[in-house]
Symmetry: C2
Subunit: 505 residues, 2 copies
């Protein structure tokens, strides 16, 4: 997207003289955001223990400076002075995103923003203690305060009659509305519950047993990332408590984690984060707003696509199984077929992050409905634990006896993230839409994947998703890439097919 500069330069006469200034400012703010990203990557991977207090100070200074740049009063003046009609699509999108980020940064009064930041930091600490103690009551007052503050924030952010919840959702999934998400997400509940029940009547395949040395797990993670097209000269893999990806373009890093009793943890964390980072490495420009990722849902579609549609597929097992066997000669799984079954075991459990593909979205649906009710005021924090447990029994058939496995399992609400959960399911839905379309474009995909050849898959995603940046909205982007509006049908079909074969349903 370097070409934007040239494409628009011919229009840089009269009114549009302010465009270069605006773009230069956005570039600097993006570069400072990248600094912030490296500093927080460092904190999770490299920082010595005693650096924590200084790091908090450093992060605070960076955040304040970034806020200062993003609320620069020249931004609306520059935008005002631009004649948008004379712009190419890329610059129209740049202006739209500049407006959007300025609005997000300025609509919430600074005092409220600071109160929320403080309540989030405290919330996370209290949540961690409450979780440790297994005591929801301990966390409830902090959560109540956060819900109230986020409602206030939502009112500041709301435009065009948006509901408070939608105003929060919009931060992560621009343009998304509850009324359009509801049929998309809720429509999955019935078929997923039915599928889960059919599967539960069948015996489970073998799982992994034994010990898997860290060194070999990391070598495998490296090999898998390489095979997927991750560019190590524009990234690196390190260890952290919770895997994440960060950065973009020439510096897109990922982390993973290792559990010596479970080789799938490292393997699929890596595949997931590589999916995110390939999106980052494929961005058309490191700084321009229109060149960044489209939405959190689309970002998640990339990680889930590589994790599930590729790395948990039957053809990929053909390539992956011998790699596993080479690293772990004593492994108790003895064929690509057994491997495929083992990495797709379905088991009803309490924890979202450990859920298989069949259960995952049911976990998200529970959170989506509860957080909507919390924000709207239909549900009180004091009733949250009871409601969680009641609905968990209803949807999963399991009684929650330990709140650590229940409402206290996720960090999100404790740091004020309301409206974030649905983007996880959107990611799954979008990844299945893209998968369906890609299969039509590449009839021999399975043969290639079985040989570990993922180059054309990446090329397809580069062309249809990565290179598009933020030019289109998420729904437009997915519709354009897959040839029809996003729906949950491709995901349900994919899961039905996959698990019917796997479990002989």
């Amino acid at each position: 997207m370097e070409r934007i500069i040239y494409a628009t330069s011919k229009y840089r006469i009269g009114k549009n003289m302010s465009l270069p200034d605006l773009l230069e400012h956005m570039k600097k703010s993006a570069a400072l955001g990248q600094v912030s990203g490296i500093i927080s990557w460092d904190q999770e991977t490299m920082m010595p223990e005693k650096g924590a207090a200084q790091r908090a100070e450093q992060t605070g200074v960076l955040a304040a400076l970034l806020h200062q740049m993003n609320t620069d009063k020249r931004i609306p003046e520059w935008i005002e002075a631009i004649n948008e009609d004379a712009l190419c699509d890329e610059d129209k999108a740049n202006i739209r995103e500049a407006k959007r980020s300025y609005d997000l940064a300025t609509k919430v009064p600074e005092e409220l923003a600071q109160t929320i930041a403080k309540a989030s930091a405290e919330g996370q600490m209290i949540w961690a203690k409450a979780r440790e103690a297994g005591d929801f009551e301990m966390f409830a007052p902090a959560l109540e305060k956060l819900v109230e503050l986020k409602r206030e924030e939502a009112q500041c952010l709301s435009s065009d009659g948006q509901s408070p919840y939608d105003a929060l959702l919009d931060q992560f999934e621009p343009g998304a509305r509850t009324e359009t998400l509801l049929p998309l997400l809720e429509g999955m509940r019935e078929p997923l519950v039915a599928l889960r029940e059919r599967i539960s009547r069948h015996p489970k395949p073998n799982g992994f047993e034994g010990t898997y040395p860290t060194k070999n797990q990391l070598q495998l993670a490296h090999d898998v990332a390489k095979q997927m097209g991750y560019d190590f000269s524009a990234g690196r893999i390190d260890l952290s408590t919770h895997p994440f990806s960060s950065g973009g373009s020439g510096d897109s890093r990922i982390t993973t984690r290792v559990d010596e009793a479970d080789p799938l943890n490292c393997l699929y964390s890596t595949a997931h984060e590589v999916g995110h980072s390939l999106y980052g490495q494929g961005a058309p420009d490191p700084y321009l707003p229109a060149a960044q990722y489209c939405s959190m849902g689309v970002h998640e579609s990339q990680s889930r696509f590589w994790e599930n549609q590729i790395a948990r597929s039957r053809p990929f097992a053909e390539w992956l199984y011998p790699q596993m066997k080479a690293q772990f000669p004593d492994m108790n799984i003895n064929s690509p077929d057994e491997f495929y079954k083992a990495v797709n075991r379905v088991e009803t459990g309490y924890i979202r992050t450990e859920a298989d593909e069949v259960h995952y979205n049911l976990h998200v649906l529970l959170r989506f409905e509860l957080e909507r009710e919390l924000v709207s005021g239909n549900l009180q924090v004091s009733d949250l634990e009871g409601e969680w447990n009641k609905r968990f029994m209803e949807y999963f058939g399991l009684e929650v006896r330990d709140v650590k496995l229940g409402v206290l399992q996720d960090v999100h609400w404790s740091v004020g993230l309301f409206g974030y959960f649905p983007t996880y399911s959107l990611g799954n839905i979008y990844s299945a839409c893209l998968d369906e379309a890609m299969r039509q474009d590449m009839p021999d995909r399975d043969d290639k994947i079985a040989k570990g050849e993922t180059g054309e898959v990446l090329k397809w995603l580069r062309k249809n998703i990565h290179q598009k940046g933020r030019l289109l909205s998420a729904t437009e982007l997915i519709e354009q890439a897959s040839g029809k509006p996003a729906s949950s049908a491709p995901l349900i079909n994919y899961l039905e097919d996959k698990y019917s074969t796997l479990y002989n349903l």
Copy 2:
């Protein structure tokens, strides 16, 4: 130095209300400086290759923001409003340093500062190419431009009738003047040349032969750092092309390098950087200006002290030799005594950074005189190569046949660092002053060092140097710590003693 806040709070009435604001601003600027340090550490150790272009952009934005903070117009207003008489010594020093850094940041017009920054970046690139090509002429125009710009800069910085060279020197060694440095440094020439000549008539001890695996070298580096009291929970060791230390207080990192044919490279680079980092870890406060390192010369005294007076000493060889032998069982050096001789081989060579303790300061003296003449205009850049070679023959008895081993060996001048070289020799002089005083305070030091017990050494440095921060000038600090004014006599005595024994002079 946290106590500064309390010590002064009782004075925070009337005029001194601006002190907390000033200190808070200085703290934020220090925190942003730390961010900058981590980002450049990352660049040298972790950054993937393709991150370079984005890194340049990020560094530029950070530098501009830091400059903005350091030139904030409120700084002189705050200072002006403070009644210094009512302050404790620490806060007097904080104010003095706040003034100093404001002056350094504002006295040079922004346009000139930017021109110098650009000329330095270009200078380094051209220097690298010229060095590669072995062609001084290629570098000369860039150097000429830099000398001219630095003269201009010196004029802006100069106060109280300082010469241009002294104005540059003052940036690195506050308060230092050529007229006081000259006798200190030049006084070493004659005894060092005499010592070198006496040694040269004796046969050289054995050096290291064979191969030393990276893994074992790094393990040894780790063990030596630990033994010296380096706190790994407030730091870490990584690899980089050129070893360096960075950060301070709770996050003081070092890097080292490995040459598998020469175990001393990694070993003594590590000891050197650990010396720097122990100073950083011992700072009384992470942010306050009066709590930072005193001067570059004092900083270098800490690295050289641990590298030479400790790690190259006979008693330390008692502890270090068995550690070496454990890592490298096939090593050709077979006793602590042989080890001590091998790590203190004296050999006349071309390269400053590879020089032994006898030759090192002679290399610095050459640069000190040449750069003074360049800045004063007594020497033209066009004559520099010839002068270098002529004087090198005079002082070292060697003909420079390759400019890479001559005037093009150091990066300093190419990035506009004039007035920096003498701080290396000051470091050596100061380290010997401290050594002499410490020996008097700790008569059993050798016995302890022989057992690897360095705790009391560090304690002495913490008390007499590290905890003093920037309260005193470098000369005051060294005088207070060693009980008499700094002179080169302790260094010359130390070298005479050491090498007389080593070479049976």
